[in-house]
Amino acid sequence: MSRLFMKNSDVSPNRKSVVRYENFGDKVITKSMAERTRNMMARAEEALIKAGKVTYRTKKASARAARLLALVFSLLFSLTGCHGKREQRTFEIPETFDEAGKYEITFWAKNDTNKTQTGIYKKAISDFEKLYPNITVNLRLYTDYGKIYNDVITNIATDTTPNVCITYPDHIATYLTGQDSVVPLDDLFADEKYGLGGGELKFDSPAQDEIIPKFLEECAFGGSHYAIPYMRSTEACYVNKDFVEKLGYTLPEMLTWDFVWEVSEAAMEKNADGTFKLNGQNVLIPFIYKSTDNMMIQMLRQKGAGYSTDDGEIQIFNDTTKELLETIAKHVKTGAFSTFKIGGYPANFLNAGQCIFAIDSTAGATWMGTHAPLIDISEDKLVEFETAVMEIPQFDPEHPQMISQGPSVCVFNKADKQEVLASWLFAQYLLTNDVQIAYSQTEGYVPVTSKAQESEEYQDYLQREGEDNVTYYDVKLKAAKLLLSHTEDTFVTPVFNGSASLRDAAGQLIETTTKSVRRKATADDAFFKKLYTDTASLYHLDQGSAQMDPDAVVTGAEALGPLPLTSKLLLAALAAAWVLIAGYLFLTGLRRKNRK
């Protein structure tokens, strides 16, 4: 078979569709776009455009509508935020679930382009429907959190949101700007009949204290829980151990950034014919990072440097960020470092012997290593090597810090309380051991309940590491164990309306630096000053931040440019309305005075 042709590939090779396990927002977004997920939101919007629309004009209008809605929601949110806690349409838990009525609910789920995951969702639905024959669950599948986000935003406007949705807290912060859109779950958690571990449930639900506290906390903001965790992962560094040792190094117990940079530079030595001494190939990128937003966020966290405050003050444009970018630029220049968005999937380079350190989600473990069950490259390009699964590099290995990521589940509010209760029952069903254990085994995920983690079945699974290269694939199990042993070392970034944009900006700083240096730009002070300005402007982070360099960043009004005509008309209409109200009040007052 030709080395150029991948026969019988069972994976989607398009960068848009191979959104397998990418990070969105604080966690997993993607390529694709797919698409590629190089520009996640853009791809997501494109997907929105594509959804059921035939004509080009319609497509464009839909995308703009989504963006407009997001903007409107943001404005509404910022306005209502001035008045303290937002008033919610109260969801009152029905006394009893109506088993005589018929309820049809929709579940928008995300899979990692993994048919086993799809199968588990379908089985969960089937099993749930057997328990509750009066509830029908319609599954809609996505491979990209960004697409879910965009579709939800669009559907909030038309009150056609799904009932249950896989999501991220960053996104919920935006969903909440739609009045009463997402159900606060605290009362449901505590309900004796239908709450967590409730007495009237037809399945074995975990009690609230059986959800890993750290993971549950990630779903709380604004004083309420708006989601339940579904699966959790972190990032891991998948290492070609053979290459490290061939270069004369020994892997430390915990990777440091200095070690990774040093080994990566040592690998750049070439033969006279231009091939790399390490692998004898023309291609070698020693260090590739999949999700550069995570890279920046974790580096800043480990350094104790600013990213944002809990209430949304932007702090990322600081001197530490610049120092980190300068280091990255140095290693881009030598060719020792690159990113997924620029070159492609880290797993493909790792498996072809063209990479030493590949950092990706633990939920991407099934793609990593010579014997990975999911492989994107042809067999003749695969090289044999030992894969070490390690924590991401640290600045202070004594106090490791790594991101917590993975999907959560929220429930959308509806006029029919029984329908909401039916939705909650299904959402809660996803926490049962059957679903938790089965789904976690599809990737390097871990179950979010101690009930599942401590179960005999799951413990048995963990002990069987390496028994085969499918269910017990050693790299996958090592990735899961990595998170299990570091749960307390994980963190999440603050959630606020706009936190998703900040996350994108964090990644963009690295992507732009990397791409620019590859194109022979000089990464000097002027470069970084412009980078900060451009990035802040692009992601609208230059409005209201106290920490940004005033010399480097233009003001919000300058960045936004002149008001568009529609805004001017809207403002004019508002002004006219106030004039009319004032006029009416004046005339009314005048009449009263005349009567007297």
Partner: protein, 255 residues
């Protein structure tokens, strides 16, 4: 005299007809040879483009063959000239200009050469383009016999055809034999379609890329109707992802 004139005219007619026929024959023989346009100053030939390194700035003149997508003022295009093909990803492009990009439209693009998992392309970030006078619509190259050969990559991104291919079975999530899958079997209607087809005893995977051809198109629905064992002809673009990954735009029963 009249007889002589008639004979002369007839003879002239016969000679003229014969000459025309010969000329036409000569023309038919030479027709397949494409005239390669001379490039404008500063514009690369396809060979020069191929020789350029990744991250080098490149300037090309090429012709739009298909439009994959447009959003947020960025267009992704399959383009080709008489020498070879160029895939252009995320080219900054207004809606107005995008509408002007008909199949065959000539454009000049300046940007940076990039490679994404084996796909050579022009990265639109920082790229510019202008619409020029001129038109060229590529005829599909029959790449059937090139499948599985090292020569195939020389035609990366070109408009090609595959003939007489037999649809092979794939396995869905439930273990059933099917003629196609949405993604790897984890997707649904509207997602990319993947199907296998064989020729000369070897089986290859083909894609209906849903941004290029969504579920309202003939090709998308034709693939959904495929049965294992069907013999088909296909057209599409020779896209690359860790090996060739043809983006199919047409599927018909084999002639």
């Amino acid at each position: 005299m009249k007889k002589f004139t008639a004979v002369l005219l007839t003879a002239s007619l016969v000679v003229a007809s014969a000459s025309m026929a010969m000329a036409a024959e000569t023309e038919m023989e030479t027709e397949p040879t494409l005239t390669v346009e001379e490039k404008s100053e500063g514009v690369m030939t396809h060979d020069e483009y191929v020789a350029a390194a990744v991250d080098d700035e490149v300037t090309i003149e090429t012709y739009v063959q298909a439009k994959q997508s447009w959003w947020e003022d960025k267009a992704t295009l399959y383009t080709q000239d008489q020498e070879g093909a160029y895939f252009i990803y995320n080219l900054p492009c207004s809606e107005e200009d995008y509408e002007k990009l008909e199949v065959g439209t000539k454009i000049r693009v300046t940007g940076y050469k990039a490679e994404f998992n084996g796909e050579i392309e022009i990265d639109g970030e920082g790229a510019t383009f202008e619409i020029l006078d001129g038109e060229f619509i590529a005829e599909p190259l029959d790449a059937t016999e090139l499948l599985g050969t090292d020569e195939l990559i020389d035609h990366q991104n070109e408009f090609v055809t595959f003939k007489g291919m037999t649809v092979e079975a794939k396995e869905d999530a439930e273990g059933n034999e099917v003629a196609f899958l949405y993604k790897d079997g984890s997707g649904q209607d509207g997602d990319d379609l993947y199907f296998d087809a064989s020729v000369n005893g070897e089986t290859y995977t083909f894609t209906v890329e849903s941004y290029l051809c969504d579920n309202t198109t003939d090709v998308y629905n034709a693939v959904k109707e495929l049965k294992v064992g069907d013999v088909i002809d296909m057209e599409g673009f020779l896209y690359w992802y860790e090996g060739v990954n043809p983006h199919i735009t047409s599927v018909t029963a084999a002639e």
